[in-house]
Symmetry: C2
Amino acid sequence: MNPLRERIIKDGKHLGNGVLKVDSFMNHQIDPQLMRYIGEEFARRLAHTNPTRILTAETSGIAPAVAAGLVMNVPVVFARKHQPITMAPEPYREKSSSPTHQKQVELIVSTEYLQASDRILIIDDFLASARTLVALEKLIIQSGATLVGIGAVIEKQFQNGRELLKHLTVPIESLAIIERMDGNEITVTT
Amino acid sequence: MNPLRERIIKDGKHLGNGVLKVDSFMNHQIDPQLMRYIGEEFARRLAHTNPTRILTAETSGIAPAVAAGLVMNVPVVFARKHQPITMAPEPYREKSSSPTHQKQVELIVSTEYLQASDRILIIDDFLASARTLVALEKLIIQSGATLVGIGAVIEKQFQNGRELLKHLTVPIESLAIIERMDGNEITVTT
């Protein structure tokens, strides 16, 4: 059995309204063995896309993207929500929204780290509404780089994010797929 | 020669006023080989402190803390700057400030992931003014856990952060120490 699926069933918590808490192993505390599995599994499923960079979004995407980058030996770029003083002027920007912070956010990437010649693999913690993934895709389009694949640790299938991604022809891989959450029962396929 | 020192000299940029830009390999883009070295080096220097958890701060501490956690097989907890809807009520909170965002921030950790029985190793990207490290120490004190060591990827020695930490008797390890930055010249010892 997939150790991620096991862990979601054991420690994931449905907080209502489709919100899944996975803070004990992924979004606040990070379990090292599970994260190693996640990195290896992304590599197994997506290394064939030959990415030159992995792109993720601050904050919860960083750990799985770094785990994948370490296994695949590919640099990881994380889109920032705020522009630090170290960032070069006129970065790429896209609006998105954060379901777990319930607000609009901006995703910002310096033009230094997304180049037209790049092949970009997007890695993120969730595929839910897919709004963050679409914002990352738009950053890639701005840069002229090529999107080669998308990997999400957990897909909440009932939030229909795949609809927003149906224009894409690249591989989209989710390591665990949640079909539904009813009260305390979380049904995970895959 | 220490590959981190080499990389800082090659790709670090002094932006003036003591601000060092390391976005090309650590704070916006993450170099996988360098990050693997960083994780292994933290383990070599600090695994003997027998931590039960590694504590870091969102955002730039996450990658080096995860790299160390993967090598040492220890869970990583990252203090959040904003409380997500998934976080249990009444978390530990400490004020700090972000030099690269030039604003006050709050560091927030759920009481679920810092326990009185824990031995905590703090890992962060910089030891500069040490204000973030002190805020993390105060979170540990709130929880009743024991601080067993501190690891920083880069120490900016000229910002005298060690002064703020002189009450501590635990090992404090910096993987590269910057003595001074004059114009474009960055002097890195170690």
